[in-house]
Symmetry: C2
Subunit: 498 residues, 2 copies
């Protein structure tokens, strides 16, 4: 026990055991937990709750910031405790349970959960679990490597369990900027005019009466998987850099671009890494997650400031950042996801949003979440928050995959997360299509020409030509054939025509 | 000629004839024109341009606020002058040309055009035509019955033609609140915290050097069609009122609700009219268009204030409003559509958005724009701006139409304008489904049960049950069958199974 980490001494008597804490969880409970892209999640209470479920089976609704680390979602799923889960996940076991209909998954735009909680549009939270670096003298919670939805959980939950993680340095105090938009109808402006503007407090205000228990953990976050940058990913990045370079050359953007948002994963990481090579300077980020590449860009002097809701990095990068925090302290800020993903700020800053698509269609509609139109991959995440409000919304994917048996450009996407109105530029390893100001029939020609894999170009063009001739319309389609590529894949193992 | 209406006398020499003005329009020109939902459109220049095209054929890109009145879009289309049209239209002749592929239609969220112009993401405007009530002593333009995109057109166009409409009372000076968000990266907050907040000027600032010509017109706007409230529309309204009444009873809303947005047309009109009967008080609107029902609600004392981008009313209502302007002066404001539809303000005010769907599917995805997945009706309009950022996004439609041969609830929509993430409540004449916090499989059961027409309930339930059993997933679908209702309608004239 590290009493030093509870500076508000009157709270020290709330320290208890994990076993004791578990008594707070009843069947049917609505449970909220810190955790955003594997960072700052509950290390002991949620795993213990999963373990208890063998002997004492209950079912709960679990709301988090985004994904959890440490296989916690897998453990919870296997235990049978999850009745309902929101707003995001990336776990293989949970994903399967969702797709089997065993867990009800409420896939939400990441800015939305806190809005709905503020407004009592979701059930009341019975218990919230919040990972903390320490508790201040005033009794406030200093979060760890993510902020996520923790501030609104602390505000709205009936009971709060604080998990103090002694593996996290207390030096990160000051990295966070905690601000909760006021309840309606008295909401004020979110006064962020530059990614480095601070508008809130360094810690999460909490009603001491609601603190039901304090427990300790000592375990760092699950590290991010850093994928090797393969040829396709490098090609995608180079096309995107070419597009951005053209924008600068045309005078529409300066060398500092606009604040960047990048989705999580290997493509986004590669794109950010490429910016180091390009002729850019004075870059900033207004994003959800700080990945390894963000810190590489800071180290290279290209990235001046990065705002996000979490830090999710490899083990090596974790050491680099937290052993040299003074170097990064004035270059990063962690915000609640209601602010990192706020429509108001994204639009005001003119963010350039770069997100990954599972597939897009010839008109530029994007599927970010569903395999085959039915099976959930991870969820929409923050892509909708950014795509809808960005100055420029860019989606990237490979043109084809699995030995080119799957084309990622299709006649019609099997699920629409982002429609053509919110998709300005699409990029594959084949090239990019700048769709701004174009009508659907023009978009189709450009996408097929610039982005499709050569093995599928003729078939896409044939679909489009026949749709124009046989049906016509603003958005020509052959409804009988629109999903035939998906069904062919299912039946024959390839989208190719034989 | 009414020199009185050009108070900046140095501009009086710019008065010219319409014939002379037409010389400004060259082949390939990008032309912008005032006009939003038939209000404040060009009465003489655009029609004359259409007429000239017989003898002097050119092609142009035409950008407006939204739809035009006086069959102007029909005349332009028939003349062959339209190469490209954005961002919205409601004209029968133009619609056909769009669907035939003769006019390229760039269907845009109504808040987006000005954003793209500000940022030079659309081609430069060669000539803008702006209808004015008069020109102030400072040389500024006082708009008429709409603001729409006129401020940004005036700012970005190379040349400006002012059409002074002497049929419009100069008394409407003061109704407008003109504010253009600053260019990036220096954008400030939009300081509207209540629908009646004013943040700008009474008139549109314009560089006198850019004023190429001033012409006069004397013709009021095309009147709105006021449709009879039929049984189905009344039923939709009553279910929606029942939902809102329940929200008040639950304590989630007060009797003044939140600022209301209502799409244009008969259902929205009926819903607003019903609010007069319900137990509500102190209502406000933050919407796009003021219709007859808005003024009825003001007269009844229920509606305290209404903010919009235009006034589009019947002939009788037009007289009532403009002959009694003092009565309404402090109860209404007309704003640019970049402000009436601004994400920042819609979210901050917690607007309740009520929009019409062409069809929605069992998971709550909405099609607002396309017939049969291919043919453009009007466009997405402002529905996306509101649905994505509203506190609560409500979509309404009839359960079935055309002798019940068409079901408006379908296995899968043939075009997605609003996906399930941005659809909170759906209402038909059968009932409403409150979808907040539900997973897709739960949404389906509620929508089929509460909203589908009895003739289609079993078939929808059968589709869902088979999709769950045969395919499963987060969003169960049978891709081979998903559009079979649309194709059956096309082949047999009805969606019914025989």
């Amino acid at each position: 026990m590290d009493y030093e980490r509870i500076k508000h001494t009157a709270l020290q008597h709330k320290i208890t055991t994990v076993d004791k804490v578990l008594e707070l969880f009843k069947d049917g409970a609505v449970v909220a937990s810190s955790g955003f892209t594997k960072a700052g999640d509950s290390k002991v209470v949620l795993p213990a709750l999963a373990a208890r479920n063998k002997d004492y089976p209950i079912q709960i609704t679990l709301i988090t910031g985004a994904s959890l680390g440490n296989d916690t979602d897998a453990k919870l799923t296997s235990s049978g405790i999850l009745k309902r889960r929101m707003p995001f996940q990336v776990d293989r076991v949970l994903r399967q349970a969702i797709n089997n209909g065993e867990v009800l998954f409420v896939d939400q735009n990441l800015s939305e959960t806190s809005e709905m909680l503020t407004d009592n549009q979701l059930p009341t939270i019975d218990v919230a679990i919040i990972e903390a670096a320490f508790i201040t003298a005033e009794g406030d919670i200093v979060p760890t490597t993510s902020v996520g939805n923790s501030p609104i959980f602390a505000q709205k939950a009936n009971k709060i369990i604080i998990e103090i993680n002694t593996a996290v340095s207390t030096d990160l105090h000051g990295l966070h900027d905690i601000y909760i938009p006021e309840a309606y109808p008295n909401r004020k402006a979110i006064n962020i005019f530059s990614p480095n503007d601070r508008i809130g407090a360094n810690s999460i205000k909490v009603d001491p009466e609601k603190i039901a228990a304090i427990v300790f953990s000592n375990q760092v976050d699950s590290p991010a998987d850093i994928a090797h940058i393969d040829t396709k990913t490098a090609a995608i990045a180079s096309h995107l850099i070419r597009f951005l370079t053209n924008e600068v050359a045309s005078g529409r953007l300066t060398k500092s671009l606009r604040p960047l948002q990048a989705g999580i994963g290997k493509v986004a990481n590669a794109v950010l890494a490429s910016l180091e090579q390009g002729d850019f300077e004075g870059l900033t980020m207004f994003s959800e997650v700080l990945q390894d590449s963000s810190f590489d860009l800071i180290d290279s002097g290209k990235l001046m400031f990065a705002s996000a809701a979490s830090i999710t990095v490899s083990e090596a990068c974790y050491q680099r950042v937290f052993n040299n925090l003074e170097k990064y302290r004035d270059k990063i800020v962690l915000r609640p996801q209601s602010i990192s993903n706020a429509a108001e700020v994204i639009r005001r800053l003119g963010v350039i949003g770069i997100n990954t698509a599972i597939e897009f269609d010839i008109y530029g509609n994007v599927n970010s979440s569903h395999i085959g139109g039915t099976h959930m991959m991870n969820g929409i995440g923050g892509s909708g928050d950014f795509a809808r409000n960005a100055h420029m919304s860019i989606f990237v994917t490979q043109a084809a995959s699995k030995g080119d048996s799957i084309s990622h450009i299709l006649p019609m996407v099997s699920h629409v997360d982002h429609n053509e109105h919110n998709v300005d530029v699409v990029v594959t390893d084949m090239g990019y299509a700048d769709l701004r100001g174009l009508a659907p029939r023009e978009r189709a020609l450009k996408i097929i020409q610039n982005c499709a894999h050569p093995d599928y170009k003729d078939a896409l063009q044939s679909y489009f030509d026949r749709a124009v001739k046989e049906v016509g319309g603003q958005t020509p389609h052959l409804l009988e054939e629109a999903f035939s590529w998906h069904t062919r894949l299912k039946q024959t193992g390839t989208m190719k025509h034989h």
